[in-house]
């Protein structure tokens, strides 16, 4: 199994205080990785660095064997934790935008996702509830045939039914060799969804292991492990 993403020695400071310190990890192709940690742990910063929206102070990022650059941006599908769509756009405008600017956008898939996530295409995005806006962003991100999906808090603010739909999409709608990195602190939702876990606490990786290993060798659920690891951090 090849690595779709490799990070070495990644460090970042904001205003003098370290946000990420000497991070090192990789993501294999075809894996779903849960990036977990409390608020302010550095999850969003890490994802933004992977998307080249922030610059690391130090470190190397390799995407599909090549150093991060313009080409690698095309391999990553980003779902931010805020609404980054222009305020005037309707859902269908956003779909057309993605379709025009991302070569790997699958219009058919976006139609399917709009249906399963109950999204009305003619509504203005800013008129939607927070949870619905998130579903729109999830739909846009997952309609691309990317190598790595970066989802920043995809479940925040979504009701249980919507969450179930998003999880279902993640389980079945991602190609076998594509990977997903989900940043969240809602452990319960992703218990059965993730293959691997990355626990991030204020810039440091506390744990990097597969979910099944945690169950088999620690005899704990992911949630229990999270609580234990972070309460001792």
């Amino acid at each position: 199994m090849s690595n779709i993403l490799t990070v070495k020695g990644l460090s970042k400071r904001f205003f003098g205080s370290p946000v990420l310190e000497d991070l090192e990890f990789s993501i294999e192709s075809g894996r779903v990785v849960g990036l977990m940690g409390p608020n302010g742990a550095g999850k969003t910063t890490l994802i933004k660095i992977l998307m080249q929206l922030y610059r690391p102070d130090r470190g190397e990022i390799t995407v599909s064997g090549k150093p991060a650059g313009i080409a690698s941006k095309g391999l990553l599908s980003y779902m931010p934790d805020t609404n980054f769509l222009p305020s005037w756009m309707r859902v269908r405008d956003a779909i057309h935008y993605y379709s025009d600017l991302f070569v790997d956008f699958d219009a058919e898939r976006s139609r399917e996702l709009c249906e399963s996530l109950h999204l009305a295409r003619d509504k203005k995005v800013t008129s939607l509830s927070k949870g619905t806006i998130k579903r729109v962003l999830v739909m846009l991100a997952l309609s691309r045939r990317a190598a790595l999906y970066l989802l920043d808090e995809p479940f925040a603010g979504i009701d249980p039914l919507g969450t179930e739909q998003v999880i279902k999409t993640l389980l079945t709608g991602v190609r076998e060799d594509s990977s997903v990195l989900i940043a969240t602190h809602q452990v319960k939702n992703i218990e059965t969804v993730v293959d691997d876990l990355l626990f991030l606490n204020f810039g440091h990786i506390l744990l990097c292991d597969s979910a099944e290993n945690i169950r088999e060798f620690r005899g704990q659920s992911v949630e229990a492990c999270y609580l234990e690891v972070f309460s001792h951090a």
């Binding site: 059965t192 293959d195 005899g219």
Partner: protein
């Protein structure tokens, strides 16, 4: 399906499938859905499902024919073996539970006899 999150999920899936085979929900030689639809049905991710299926394949509970699909084993002995395995686990857990309540072997037998007669 509801899983116990403290035990490896692929093992629980395997148990469920084995149970279905023993109880006859999945008859011998029956075709099994694709890994993708199974993962959707069970509500787990693809890799977990894949691992369960690979392990079942290794234990010869199911076999895969390239390009055709996966099927439950036709081997009656294997299925009987599954039933035996499951029975053993159930019994030992039952006896353990009863013993923790304070019953001895005689009492346990007596209770079972009475319960079955009713």
């Amino acid at each position: 399906m509801n899983f116990n999150p403290t035990i490896p999920i692929y093992l629980q899936i395997m148990d469920q499938i084995k149970r279905d085979i023993v109880t006859g929900i999945l008859a011998k030689g029956d075709r099994i859905d694709s890994v993708r639809s199974l993962s959707e049905k069970f509500g787990v991710n693809l890799n977990t499902m894949q691992r369960a299926c690979s392990e079942l394949e290794r234990q010869q509970v199911i076999h895969t024919q390239r390009g055709v699909g996966s099927f439950v084993t036709e081997d009656v002995d294997t299925i009987a073996g599954l039933k035996e395995e499951m029975t053993k686990v159930m019994i030992s857990e039952f006896i353990k539970g009863m013993k923790s309540l304070g019953y001895n072997d005689q009492e346990i037998l007596e209770i079972i006899r009475k319960a079955v007669e009713l």
